[in-house]
């Protein structure tokens, strides 16, 4: 396939852009990509991850925040660092950790697209995350409890239930 810009060199870059369900495909060679100032991932004048991200953020899911009565996008602003959602979507970066809360409602689709997931399952800070660790342990035990009950191992189940109660008391105390 030849580059759609210069029609001389073979196209080595293939982009597919989908905006509101409309699909546009680009097939260009590296030198045209550079000239167009877009660059490509892995080359020196990079088409950076941030510009890719802001491409993702311009996309609003159907039935999302643009529906009637919703807060217009440009008014969404982090009350801690002052970053607006519009600025965030241009830079592809947050201003402070509070932005995650402030832009909360809009983050799931973005995170889903970037990671395929929206919820952390990894490491928890040892010192400040004690409560979260206990909560995770409780969730884990509840799953086990259900299993034991289904398998009619009531003695084990009772032990697990007591352990859960104990942990719940711990959480209340912290």
């Amino acid at each position: 396939m030849l580059c759609q810009e210069c029609e001389k060199k073979p196209a080595t870059l293939h982009f597919t852009k989908i905006v509101n369900g409309e699909k546009t495909e680009f097939h260009i060679c590296e030198s045209c990509a550079r000239e167009r100032g877009e660059g490509i991932p892995g080359t020196s004048n990079g088409f950076s991850i941030h510009s890719l991200l802001s491409g993702l953020m311009d996309f609003e899911p159907a039935g999302g925040v643009n529906t009637i009565g919703a807060k217009p996008q440009q008014q969404l602003r982090c009350d801690n660092c002052g970053l607006t959602y519009t600025q965030f979507s241009k830079m592809g970066r947050f201003g402070c950790s509070n932005c995650y809360t402030q832009f909360g409602s809009k983050l799931d689709p973005i995170l889903k697209r970037v990671h395929g997931n929206t919820t952390h399952v990894g490491k928890i800070p040892k010192r400040t995350g004690v409560q979260i660790q206990i909560k995770r342990e409780i969730e884990e035990l509840r799953r086990e409890l259900h299993q034991r009950i289904e398998q009619e191992e009531f003695e084990n189940a009772a032990q697990i239930r007591d352990r859960i109660r104990e942990l719940e008391r711990n959480i209340a105390d912290v």
């Binding site: 660059g39 991850i49 970053l83 947050f94 990671h115 399952v121 800070p125 400040t128």
Partner: protein, 359 residues
């Protein structure tokens, strides 16, 4: 160890070429991104706010808490010239992004250069561990312990649902980027590389050139890293990268063997031709140097060249970068002068090869 030696000595541990599977994997790296709760991210921080973060984080090294993992020295980016910063980038000790942060950026470096802790990069804290050869799990183990040391004394920005909160949404969750730098001439020569790399990207891994985001894959070196940081545990992320890299190592070895079996003379011609050119050329640009060095390295790994140690090649891949070259020769150079000096340096190194423990 002073700032000078980080800048002037070419050889970091990771370049010594003595790690496991070092015929294919040059180095393994883990980077952990963390931020302090209640402080704006470096992007929006005022100088005062950024300096506060710097003081808080660098005090951890100064308090000696990191001692069990080596002797650390803190270097503020403002103490370094532009050239010195560039050298640290070429040695992979700091990121290009931190090199541009001369205002409130700092790096805490361990003496053997295996650990580099960056302050006020895109995130407040970036812990990097760089090991020679294929040692992703070992690098993660160390980075994880260093993370715990910082967590003992600082409050991280952490959210139950989103995990560790980072400046860029691509790092949120675990905040870890694990990567291996691989030398894959066999897959390139047998034209399997594109097929393999596209398969790699389909399992959630990214492929980049050796100097990270936005750089070219010079000298058949490819950096493979995890793309996803949210929704997978650190263990899963590391296992995934480890498993895929292991497969690529086997494919690369098979490709090299095939080249030896099916076109030995052509391969030898390529290797020795590059060796001859590196030993004799008077002008050498970065791109050609990387390719020729890659050929010679392949020759060494296949036992075709026996009198040069792989360490010399790793060292030269760094030494011949523009920043280092100017540092070694202590002069500012035009690109053409650099090409002449580069050729000179390579000739000299190959002549001195036996000094480096070659057979």
């Amino acid at each position: 160890m002073s700032k000078r030696s980080y800048v002037e000595e070419a050889l970091s541990d990771w370049m010594r070429g003595n790690g496991p599977d070092s015929d294919v994997v040059i180095s393994s790296r883990i980077r952990i991104a963390r931020n302090l709760s209640g402080h704006p991210f470096p992007l929006l921080a005022t100088t005062q706010q950024a300096n506060d973060v710097m003081e808080q984080l660098t005090s951890v090294a100064e308090s000696g808490k990191l001692n069990e993992h080596g002797q650390f020295e803190t270097i503020k980016l403002s103490q370094l010239s532009e050239l010195e910063r560039r050298v640290l980038v070429e040695k992979h000790l700091i990121s290009p992004n931190l090199a541009n942060e001369s205002r409130s950026g700092a790096v805490m470096l361990s003496e053997n250069e295996a650990v580099s802790i960056m302050v006020n990069e895109e995130d407040h804290l970036r812990i990097q561990c760089l090991y020679p050869g294929f040692q992703v799990k070992e690098a993660w183990g160390l980075a994880n312990r260093i993370d715990d040391i910082f967590e003992e004394v600082t409050d991280y920005a952490f959210d139950e649902r989103r995990g560790y909160l980072t400046s860029c949404p691509t790092n949120v969750g675990t905040g870890i980027r694990s990567s291996v730098m691989m030398h894959l001439p066999g897959l390139v020569l047998t034209q399997q590389i594109n097929r393999i790399l596209s398969a790699v990207t389909q399992v959630g891994l990214a492929v980049r050139g050796i100097y990270g985001e936005g750089s070219e894959a010079l000298g058949n070196l490819f950096q493979i890293s995890n793309q996803i940081t949210l929704g997978q545990s650190e263990g899963e992320i590391i296992e995934n990268l480890h498993g895929v890299a292991r497969q690529i190592i086997e494919h690369e070895r098979a490709a090299r063997q095939r080249l030896l079996d099916e076109s030995r003379v052509r391969l030898e011609d390529r290797v020795f031709r590059s060796y001859g050119i590196l030993s004799n050329a008077m002008i050498m640009d970065t791109k050609e140097a990387s390719q020729r060095l890659s050929d010679v390295r392949l020759g060494i790994d296949l036992g075709l060249i026996r009198d040069v140690s792989p360490q010399v090649m790793n060292e030269m891949m760094v030494l011949t970068q523009p920043g280092f070259l100017q540092q070694v020769f202590r002069e500012k150079m035009t690109p053409e002068q650099r090409d002449i000096r580069r050729a000179e340096l390579i000739r000299n190194q190959l002549q001195r090869k036996t000094d480096h423990g070659g057979v």
